[in-house]
């Protein structure tokens, strides 16, 4: 056992898609996230950050290398084991929120515990606490369709956090939000991190990433810089700015 147990460890992780020609999405990624960290993984589209997210979230197995989540080597788990690991240790926040629009907000959040084997009343009790934490306790019986994009993303964050996972993976959490709302979501992530949650934010937005304590830059399937190894800690002092991001229609979300 290591002295500080890592929430997430990648060792020389590679991922190859296809046969001919093989596409190298990840070319030997090694990094770890300690418990209680708030990390941004930044890279342009095509840099392999989405693949990295899938590998970190055990939604895909790496072609080579080792992935350890909360101390568990995923190579030793079968598909059922991976499912159980996701249910227990990983929380996801997606750009498209993925909320069930025919269920109440409370039940959407409670579904975060569905596959962890928690009884329904306990699920709802914890879901209400999580909603309280993201400031939406008064909307518990509303439908996601009645909410703004920012509120929906807060619901999705509550769902990711309700099981107190070892690590929360947020994939472009502000991608569908206007800049002000996006900033408030980042603020919320900061607060949740301060309360102990381990959060990895995957984004293409360097400006947003600059707000977070640690940035890992990815390009062409490799880590090109990691501010954790950066001797200059000034980056962390960079004020949070909300630049001229193009607001994406927050209300266009209409999945069935």
């Amino acid at each position: 056992m290591r002295p500080t147990r890592a929430a997430l460890e990648l060792e020389a992780v590679t991922k190859v898609y296809g046969e001919r020609p093989p596409v190298l999405a990840l070319r030997g990624v090694t990094f770890s996230v300690r418990k209680g960290e708030l990390v941004a993984i930044v890279g342009p589209s095509g840099s392999g950050k989405t693949t990295l997210l899938h590998v970190m979230g055990t939604l895909e197995r790496p072609t080579g290398g080792t992935v350890r989540i909360d101390g568990v080597d995923i190579d030793r788990l079968d598909d059922r084991g991976l499912s159980a690991l996701r249910a227990r240790s990983i929380g996801f926040v997606f750009q498209q929120f993925f909320l069930a629009e025919h269920s109440t907000v409370l039940d959407n959040v409670a579904d975060g515990l569905l596959y962890a084997g928690v009884e329904v009343r306990e699920r709802r009790r914890r879901a209400l606490a999580a909603l309280e934490r993201v400031g939406l306790a008064d909307r518990a019986s509303a439908r996601p369709t009645q909410m703004s994009g920012g509120q929906r993303q807060r619901v999705a964050i509550a769902r990711a956090l309700v099981g107190r996972p070892a690590i929360v993976l947020a994939d472009e959490p502000t991608g569908n939000l206007d800049s002000v709302t996006g900033a408030s979501i980042i603020e919320l992530l900061h607060e949740l991190n301060a309360e102990g949650a381990t959060i990895v934010v995957i984004t293409h937005d360097a400006e947003l990433a600059a707000d977070l304590p640690r940035q890992v830059h990815v390009r062409d399937g490799r880590i090109v810089s990691d501010s954790a190894h950066d001797p200059d800690p000034d980056d962390r002092a960079t004020p949070r700015t909300t630049g001229a991001r193009v607001p994406v229609g927050a209300e266009q979300e209409d999945r069935s």
Partner: protein, 408 residues
């Protein structure tokens, strides 16, 4: 290191998860369940109606009494038409278990026509019979119109028509002076009978009195040198219900001790019961239609489930991300199809029972829906749901989480 085992869903959660898709798309679910509902409704109604009509017939038979026996003249050993002895009814009535006896005689030489102008071959398959005055209570029928023969009219050219006979002769009402051409002369119509369920041969008869038969149609026999009426060709016997078998056994010997093998003894209610059982064999056409509707319904459910799986890719991806195993995804979609088909089946059974109840009530039958009809209906609906949901469920479970989460 602890081994990671996925948590099992509790039954309540399974039900909740299985109904998510149905609750989200109520109209679509209702429409796709409709096919299954129609199929089960048709099957249940066909089985229910045939059982109810059977029950109705059996209760009718019970009401008419199962204690009626008939002794008919059969064939002699040489194959000729045998005759009952004229004294057979009297002998039979001496049996202690016998309560009532009445007899009729088929007069083969005479036919009945609407008028003398009808060609003789157009007999309408009607028979002229001489009848005892107490025939009606014994065969459990009555007069629909007019009156039955009495001791006076039995000696005159007066006829009472069976229900079918009246219809075939085109006589729907008894009017004063109404006549039919019977055995070469006019007979006055006194009455029309109600259908005699236990003795359908009465329905196709024109009934006259024995004295009239003797006087106008020369139907008589000679006993010890004197001319007397008769002989009967059918003897109707009502006996004590608990003694029916015993009477059945001795009836032929009693009617004709010399040649009992020439007497055909039968119990009309037995034949009717057998007929009821046969008519209970359901209408295979409608049953076939029900099965076709079920199959169409199954295709509809399968179709809807496949579309549902495609549409709900992101839901599947999300559930995998939340920790659902492949098996749990498979179970979700399979049980959704089963729930859908089950609801359709339940509605169909209810509709089939309702249709049976309404129809049976108008016919005054007992409402009988055999257990195998509704259990079979619901059972086949569940089976169909499982079959229809299998392929979509497998598809859903095989979808890679990353593929399912990819947004188009």
């Amino acid at each position: 290191m602890t081994t990671l085992v996925p948590a099992r869903l509790r039954p309540g959660d399974r039900a909740r998860v299985a109904s998510v898709g149905l609750r989200a798309r109520r109209l679509r679910s209702a429409l796709s369940a409709l096919g299954i509902a129609i199929g089960t409704a048709a099957i249940v109604a066909v089985l229910g109606l045939s059982s109810s009509s059977q029950a109705g017939l059996l209760s009718e038979i019970d009401r008419l009494g199962t204690n009626l026996l008939t002794a008919e003249s059969g064939q002699s050993f040489s194959g000729d038409a045998a005759r009952l002895p004229p004294e057979a009814p009297a002998r039979i009535s001496r049996l202690t278990a016998v309560e009532q006896v009445a007899d009729t005689a088929t007069i083969a030489t005479a036919n009945v026509y609407r008028s003398p102008l009808i060609p003789p071959v157009s007999t309408n398959a009607l028979k002229v019979r001489a009848a005892d005055l107490n025939l009606l209570p014994v065969v459990a029928t009555g007069v629909a119109q007019g009156r039955w023969l009495n001791s006076a009219t039995a000696t005159k050219p007066v006829v009472v028509l069976g229900a079918v006979a009246a219809q075939r002769l085109g006589i729907d009402r008894v009017r004063p002076g109404q006549r039919v051409w019977l055995g070469g002369q006019w007979f006055y119509v006194a009455g029309i009978l109600r259908p005699a369920v236990l003795a359908p041969e009465i329905d196709t008869s024109a009934l006259i009195g024995y004295p009239a038969a003797q006087r106008y149609l020369n139907y008589a026999s000679i006993v010890h040198g004197t001319v007397t009426q008769g002989p009967p060709s059918t003897v109707y016997v009502r006996c004590r219900t608990d003694q029916v078998d015993a009477v059945h056994e001795v009836l032929a010997r009693t009617a004709d001790p010399e040649s009992p093998n020439e007497v055909d003894v039968s119990r009309p209610s037995d034949a009717l019961t057998a007929r009821a059982a046969a008519s209970g064999a359901f209408n295979s056409l409608f049953l076939g239609l029900g099965v076709v509707a079920l199959i169409v319904g199954a295709v509809g459910v399968a179709n809807i489930m496949i579309i549902s799986v495609l549409e709900r890719r992101s839901e599947i991806g999300l559930r995998r991300a939340l920790g659902a195993t492949r098996g749990q995804i498979r179970a979700q979609f399979l049980s959704e199809a089963i729930v859908l088909a089950f609801l359709g089946g339940a509605v169909g059974v209810a509709a089939g029972v309702l249709a049976t109840a309404v129809y049976a009530t108008t016919k005054h039958w007992a409402i009988v829906v055999p257990a195998e009809a509704w259990t079979g209906g619901i059972g086949s609906a569940i089976l169909i749901g499982a079959l229809a949901g299998l392929l979509p469920a497998l598809r859903a479970s095989r979808m890679a989480p990353t593929e399912a989460l990819r947004t188009v």
